[in-house]
C-alpha cells in the first residue's frame, strides 16, 4: 500500500516536472507554470471554484449512476437473450458510434438549460459504453460454469444471481473506468454552452477573459474530479472483485 502511494506521488511529480519544463520552454502566458496555476487554484477554491467543482461532480456522479441503472440490466438482458439481441443489435451499432454531443441542441430544447439536460447528455454517452460492455460480458460467461450450475438444479434466477451477475462485475468496472473519462469530457462540453455554473463554465469564462492561470485552476479541478472518480472506482473494484487478484 505504502509502495503504491509512493509510486503515485512519483508519477504525479513527473507530470508536474514535464509541465514546468514545457512552460519554461514555451514562455507564453497561455501556459502558466504549475506553481502559478496551483497558487491560483488554492486561491480560487473558496472564491467559487469549490462550488463549481461540487456541481460538476454531482452531474457526473448522477450521470454515471443513471447509466449503470439503465445500461447494466439492459446489457444483461440483451447479452443472454439472443433473439432480442438480434433485433436490437443493429439499432445499437447504428447509434453507438454517433457522437452524442451533436444532440445537445435538441436536449436543450427538450429539457431546458438546467442540470437535467447536462445529466441527460452525459448519461446518453456513458449509458452506451456500459450497455455494450455489459452485453458482451454477459454473452461471454463461461458455458462450463453455466452448465455445471444448471446441473445442480439452478433455474434462470439462480443463474443470474450466482453466475452471470458476479461474472460480469469486473467488466462493469472496466466500463466505468472508460465511462468516467468520457463523462468528464462530455461534462465540459455540456457546461461550456449556455451555462452559468460547473467547471466547464468556469473554464470557458476564464478563457474568454484571457485569465490563463484561472483557466488552469479549472483544468486542475477537472483533473482532480477525474482522479477522485478513478480512485473511488478502484477502491470499489478491489473490495468487490477481491477474487480477481488471487
Amino acid at each position: 500500500m505504502k509502495k503504491n502511494i509512493f509510486r503515485q506521488i512519483v508519477s504525479i511529480a513527473a507530470l508536474f516536472a514535464a509541465w514546468q519544463f514545457l512552460a519554461i520552454l514555451v514562455a507564453n502566458p497561455a501556459l502558466p507554470t504549475p506553481g502559478n496555476a496551483f497558487m491560483v487554484f488554492f486561491r480560487e477554491i473558496p472564491a467559487g471554484l469549490w462550488n463549481h467543482f461540487l456541481i460538476s461532480g454531482w452531474r457526473v456522479l448522477a450521470s454515471i449512476l443513471l447509466s449503470l441503472l439503465a445500461g447494466v440490466p439492459l446489457g444483461l438482458w440483451l447479452g443472454r437473450e439472443e433473439k432480442y439481441d438480434r433485433f436490437f443489435a443493429p439499432m445499437l451499432y447504428l447509434i453507438y458510434p454517433i457522437p452524442k454531443i451533436v444532440f445537445l441542441p435538441l436536449v436543450m430544447v427538450l429539457f431546458g438549460l438546467g442540470n437535467f439536460s447536462k445529466i441527460f447528455l452525459i448519461t446518453l454517452v456513458v449509458f452506451f459504453q456500459i450497455l455494450v460492455t455489459t452485453r458482451d460480458a454477459a454473452r461471454n460467461v463461461s458455458q462450463a460454469m453455466i452448465l455445471s450450475v444448471v446441473s445442480l438444479g439452478a433455474k434462470r434466477r439462480d443463474l443470474y444471481r450466482h453466475v452471470i451477475w458476479p461474472a460480469i462485475i469486473p467488466d462493469i468496472f472496466t466500463a466505468l473506468r472508460i465511462g468516467s473519462g468520457t463523462a468528464i469530457a462530455v461534462l465540459f462540453f455540456a457546461e461550456s454552452i449556455a451555462s452559468s455554473e460547473g467547471l466547464g463554465y468556469y473554464l470557458m469564462d476564464a478563457w474568454s477573459r484571457y485569465a490563463y492561470p484561472e483557466m488552469f485552476a479549472g483544468i486542475i479541478a477537472m483533473g482532480v474530479l477525474g482522479y477522485a472518480l478513478y480512485l473511488a472506482i478502484d477502491i470499489l473494484d478491489r473490495k468487490i472483485c477481491y477474487w480477481k487478484r488471487l
Partner: protein, 260 residues
C-alpha cells in the same frame, strides 16, 4: 444419502446439433446399460460425442431419437439426483470453497441447519475442511477437483457424470484422485459414468469401458474389466493387458478414418 446408485439404460440414442446453417450428427444409435452402483468409463477420439452423451444424461440436451432412461425415467434438467463434473471443474471463482460446496443445496432451498451440517461433513470427508474460506484460485488443481466433487456429492446424487475430470492434473495428483473417486464411489454405492482421454484411467476405474468410434460417435466395443478395484491393480498383468487391448481399439479407430 442415497442408499444406492441409479440405473442407466440407453437405447439407439442419436443426437444432432442443429444451427441455422447446418446440422451435425454428434452421436448415432448408442446402446448400453449400467447397473446401479456401477462405474463405467468412456474413451474415444476427440469430437466423437462423448461429452454430448453426458449432457443428454444430465438433461441439458433434449434428445429426439432413441431412448435414455435413468431409473426408468427420461433425464430432466436439474434432476435432483444427477451430478455433472466438468474438466475445468466449473467452480465459481468469486465464491469461497464453502460457498461453492453449499451452492447446490442453496439452489435447492434446503434449510440452513441442514446445509451447514451436510457442508461440514462433506468438507471433512473430502479432506478440504481447512480450505473452506479460501477461493478456488488459491488451491491446487487436485484440491479444486475435490471441491467440485464435494459440491456434487453435497446434493446426494445417485448418478455422477464426469467429463474428463482429471485431465488437467499432473500424473501424481491424477492417480491419487482416481483412487479417491473409487473409494467414494464404493462407499456411497454411486453410479458413475466418466468420459476420459486416458487409456490407463479408463482401465483403472471402469468396470466396463465403452470405446467410442467417431464421427458421428457410436459404440465401437464394450470391454469388461472384472478385476477393477482389486488391490494393486495398477501393477497387475491383466491391467496392462487391458490397456494394450484398449490401445489397439483406439488405434483401430485411427486407421479406419472414422475420426474428424
Amino acid at each position: 444419502m442415497s442408499s444406492e446408485g441409479a440405473s442407466v439404460a440407453v437405447r439407439d440414442l442419436s443426437f444432432s446439433y442443429a444451427s441455422a446453417e447446418r446440422r451435425v450428427e454428434a452421436i448415432q444409435e448408442i446402446t448400453f446399460s449400467i447397473e446401479r452402483g456401477d462405474i463405467y468409463t468412456i474413451i474415444g477420439p476427440s469430437a466423437s460425442g462423448k461429452s454430448t452423451l453426458l449432457y443428454i444424461l444430465a438433461g441439458l440436451l433434449p434428445f429426439a431419437s432413441g431412448e435414455a432412461l435413468i431409473n426408468g425415467e427420461r433425464p430432466q434438467p436439474g434432476r435432483r439426483a444427477t451430478s455433472l463434473i466438468l474438466q475445468n471443474y466449473g467452480l465459481l471463482p468469486w465464491k469461497t470453497v464453502w460457498q461453492n460446496v453449499v451452492l447446490g443445496m442453496e439452489i435447492r432451498r434446503l434449510p440452513s441447519p441442514e446445509i451447514r451440517a451436510r457442508g461440514e461433513k462433506i468438507l471433512n470427508e473430502m479432506g478440504i475442511a481447512g480450505a473452506a474460506k479460501r477461493y478456488p484460485a488459491e488451491l491446487s488443481g487436485g484440491q479444486q477437483q475435490r471441491v467440485a466433487i464435494a459440491r456434487s456429492l453435497a446434493t446426494e446424487p445417485d448418478l455422477l457424470l464426469m467429463d474428463e475430470p482429471f485431465s488437467s492434473l499432473d500424473a501424481y495428483s491424477r492417480e491419487s484422485m482416481q483412487e479417491f473417486l473409487q473409494e467414494i464411489q464404493r462407499k456411497r454405492g454411486l453410479t458413475v459414468i466418466m468420459v476420459t482421454h486416458g487409456i490407463e484411467e479408463a482401465a483403472f476405474l471402469g468396470r466396463k469401458i465403452i470405446v467410442f468410434a467417431g464421427h458421428p460417435g457410436s459404440v465401437y466395443r464394450i470391454f469388461d474389466n472384472p478385476l477393477v478395484g482389486s488391490a494393486e491393480y495398477r501393477k497387475n498383468d491383466s491391467f496392462f493387458h487391458l490397456c494394450t487391448e484398449l490401445r489397439g481399439a483406439m488405434e483401430w479407430n485411427q486407421t479406419t478414418g472414422k475420426i474428424l
